[in-house]
Subunit: 276 residues, 2 copies
Amino acid sequence: MGSTSRDQRDIKQRKMKPLYVIKIGGNIIDDEEKLSSFLRSVASIDSYKIVVHGGGKLATKLADSLGIQQQMIDGRRITDAETLKIVTMVYAGYVNKNIVAQLQALSCNAIGLTGADNNLIEAHKRKHPSIDYGFVGDIDTVDEKGISHFLDLGLTPIIAPITHDKKGQLLNTNADTIAQEIAKTMSKDFEVQLIYSFEKSGVLLDAEDDQTVIPTLNRHYYSELKADKKIFAGMIPKIDNAFAALDSGVKKVIIGKAENLDKIIAGESGTAIIHE
Amino acid sequence: MGSTSRDQRDIKQRKMKPLYVIKIGGNIIDDEEKLSSFLRSVASIDSYKIVVHGGGKLATKLADSLGIQQQMIDGRRITDAETLKIVTMVYAGYVNKNIVAQLQALSCNAIGLTGADNNLIEAHKRKHPSIDYGFVGDIDTVDEKGISHFLDLGLTPIIAPITHDKKGQLLNTNADTIAQEIAKTMSKDFEVQLIYSFEKSGVLLDAEDDQTVIPTLNRHYYSELKADKKIFAGMIPKIDNAFAALDSGVKKVIIGKAENLDKIIAGESGTAIIHE
């Protein structure tokens, strides 16, 4: 009975402040100063928060030092057994635990996790008719309850882009996709805002000019910009994913510069992707 | 109010079955078959459990491959910045997450953690009048509440031998000591049994003969054996630590072979260190 009333209280509280799911890109991870400024902003968010990180160039550097060749097929990196070992070491070990230690120093109670921990993210090895991507995972399920428990305890989960297949196999998984799937799943009980932070100030009208940020982008405007070829190739899957997230219950998706996280949270920076 | 009754219920339940704190040595980590047999035994324990692991020879191998010299002073390994990076990658990344993934495949809900995660183990950089050990941590506090929450949720914490100083610095920390400090701290609310599993069947009367296991060892008998020089050097700190753990409230300390974990739990294998 105690349990039920506590659970009900927890669920009620979950709707009272937003849950920020924040993806940070590799270029921030590689830059000590930018990373520490970004983490100060994360620590100062007085709300639920989850950080999903990539790995930056460290994994590639380590592979180079060890003489491990990166296999590419059709411009896509293949995760063979040696590469999986490296990304597990770098993403789940070095990068993840250093972020956690830095946040702890800022009195933000972080906990570093992969999809294998607490079975948070179950995935399967990617199936493709012609390409064997190796140990790359496509996500099946995100455990909403498991993540909620951590948030209820006041913890900030720091998620490394490694999942598992529940059969003992770790899998390399795209960090953008992890952030999106977590945001979608957590929308059941939380008011989720999904933030993609990267090196540019938002979606730009002129890709070369960081001053041309589009403050809000709805589907109609997006179609226009695509028709005018004003949105460059790499941005299209990010924005498509953003609209898909909105369709799945995420309240707001914002794309912006990692160094501006404070302003993004305040609604003063970045591009907000909205329904209408 | 719900919270209080739930907490009280949790605390009551904690005393109803033992908490096993199990240290596994490096030689098991290095042997795929032994490790997987050990993990099957861990998964089958129907009680609270925590695993603390070392790193085996993987860290040394990786350092060798990268041409990083292991610094030794007076026979002790020094953890310089590069070595810390390697042990963080290998222990907290590769070893920890592979153990977690394997346990998940056995339906044991494992969560891999370092002392930085959830601020579970706070330490300080070792102070020594003449030797600078580098980034080696001596433990100050273990967060009993944080670990209890995970156990109450039905999770099995898998602890890598990395701690932090709460100022942003990760620290390399002896896994035996971590197991002992966790066992001592958790004794406040749990009936703790501390198991040191390694390559021998227990404390041996004849170090060369694995059939000469001493089933129980109390202080008196231990003094006799030491006087007779029947206990070899490496074993002495382990046994001294075991008695210190008993003095701090741990119910039982057992030293035994990792492959015999089932039998150790059943009281049919290993050396039990007891008060009287």
